[in-house]
């Protein structure tokens, strides 16, 4: 089931268009309020856009003068709020989709039991939703969406509220299930995008600012949000023959990536925090990039410490932190080798 999506909703400042190929899982990324949930609602037929169209496998579901009711779309939406039916038991909640699609009572029950077991909630089957904890409710909601066996599955932050033990298991389950399904998934976690999505679409301020295969976007992000999301540093500016010039004049030297930037056009320089060395004084001589910054935050990161300075980050050892006397407010220089910096043309402008 391939899908074409175009959504214009003036009131929410959303104007988005993208495609989903047959069997593909697309992750919608973006800051809070970017329009991710809005887009899913339009896909599911719960919101009528001002303009645009939704075409699923050639069939127009939403469009000028065309409107297919939600129940007739064979999409299933797991919304951000679990919204389990309070008057039905957990099992009946999960069986609701199969029943509605015409399954017999016994079949629906079997399907529901299967999916409940999959999300590790089989023992909750007879409870009422009010008797569930937040994470338990979230899991049941996931089971309910999966049990509906839709043509297009829409998942809005399915992993929110899950504990560290359940989250990997559910991720594994989703990975298995989504492999065969056409899915659009919203997430704020890089691991979910990496493991579940074939492609990502990055929204910001209601516009698509970047899209591509997951590996491409997360390793070579061209938008500030995607870089942040991937845990990479990103410096935006205009392309010079061998690097990127920031608006403040500072030039970051790097190696041109694909597509190669055209000098003078918008471009971004991307590098990993682990490639950044931290110095108290700007080092002289060698052809390296030196960025004067003020430390804003220190975050433990396993065996390392992530030193944040505004939008930029450097990963250093605990020993270096003590040695350099790093603390929020300290003025230091971030140094990165030219070979570690990739420079890309910026295809999308953040309008």
């Amino acid at each position: 089931m391939s899908a074409q999506v175009e959504v214009v909703l003036a009131e929410r400042g959303v104007d988005v268009a993208f495609e989903v190929a047959d069997g593909e899982t697309v992750a919608l990324l973006g800051p809070n309020g970017a329009g991710k949930s809005t887009t899913l609602s339009v896909l599911g037929g719960l919101l009528r856009p001002d303009a645009g169209r939704v075409v699923l496998d050639g069939e127009e579901l939403t469009g000028p003068g065309r409107w297919v009711a939600p129940h007739a779309r064979r999409t299933a939406l797991l919304a951000q709020d679990p919204l389990l039916f309070p008057h039905l038991s957990v099992l009946e909640n999960v069986a609701f989709g199969p029943r509605s699609r015409g399954s017999g009572r016994r079949d629906a029950r079997a399907t529901a039991e299967h999916w409940l077991a999959e999300v590790d909630a089989a023992d909750l089957a007879e409870r009422r939703p009010t008797q569930l904890s937040g994470g338990q409710a979230q899991r049941v909601a996931v089971a309910r969406a999966l049990a509906a066996e839709p043509r297009l599955l829409l998942l809005d932050e399915p992993m929110a509220a899950l504990d560290v033990a359940v989250a990997p298991a559910l991720r594994t389950l989703l990975r298995r299930v989504l492999a065969e399904r056409t899915t659009v998934i919203v997430t704020h976690h890089v691991l979910d995008a990496l493991l579940l999505a074939d492609r990502v679409v990055v929204l910001d301020g209601g516009r698509v600012v970047e899209q591509g295969t997951t590996a491409d976007v997360l390793s070579r992000p061209r938008s500030a949000f995607a870089a942040r999301f991937a845990g990479l540093n990103l410096v935006a500016g205009t392309a010079t023959p061998d690097g990127v010039r920031r608006p403040d004049g500072l030039v970051l030297h790097g190696t041109p990536g694909d597509p190669p930037p055209v000098a003078g056009a918008a471009a971004v320089a991307v590098f990993r925090p682990s490639a950044v060395a931290v110095h108290r004084e700007p080092p002289g001589g060698s052809p390296r990039n030196a960025l004067p910054v003020v430390v804003s935050e220190l975050e433990p990161l396993g065996d390392l410490v992530r030193v944040r300075a505004g939008e930029l980050a450097a990963d250093v050892t605990v020993a270096s932190v003590t040695e350099l006397g790093l603390a929020p407010g300290a003025s230091v220089t971030f140094v990165v080798k030219t070979t570690e910096v990739d420079v890309y043309a910026r295809p999308f402008e953040h309008r």
């Binding site: 719960l46 009711a69 939600p70 129940h71 064979r74 299933a76 989709g97 969406a145």
Partner: protein
Amino acid sequence: MSRARHVGLPRWLFGPALLAGAFVVLPVASMTTRIALGDFWSLVTSRAARSALVLSLETSSASTALCLLLGVPLATVLARGEGRWLGPLRSLVLLPLVLPPVVGGIALLSTFGRQGLLGGELEALGIRIAFTSVAVVLAQTFVSLPFLVISLEGALRTAGERYDVVAASLGARPTTVLRRVTLPLVLPGLASGAVLAFARSLGEFGATITFAGSLEGTTRTLPLLIYNLRVTDADAAVAMSLVLVAVAVLVIGLVRPRGAL
């Protein structure tokens, strides 16, 4: 659940609440002090009383059923439907509430009566409504319908559409949504509405006597009997009213589901 959340009510609230309770209960209680218990039993068990009681229960049940049959769709359309014509319709549904019941009876006569709007058609079909028990049910339905519709519509609005939307997105067609989600969720409101409609039907007098007349066994319901008795024997009327009240409280107490109303 006994360990439910405890927000607590403002203390001063109990003052007016108690006053309100007293204002309703006191008159009924003080009325009872007027009647002698001796006559009470013979009165209450008289043939006229029994036949009126049975008729009242039968017709009120029938009219409640009819109210549900007509009122649930109407309330749903009013609460969930779209269209400019819904506003006026919503006001019009209140008509039987404001109309003095006797005038309501006249209105029914002018529709279903022999010379009424539909009278000719009904006559041709061999259907005679006036002076029959059917007329009683229609009169009761006419005055009770707004109660059901308004309670239910309010409940539907308060409950909102969130769960309906979820159900639809899981593939439930509108009828399934209505049956399995919308209505179960507003069950308390539906029950309140049905109880209100039943209570109003049970106490109905004006429209009934105007449209259906008053004949023992056929159209003389308990309120009509009470009215009959009132002229000659006020105490008897009061005694019968108490029976009416007792029946209502009993039926409502038995029928209403937990937590509803």
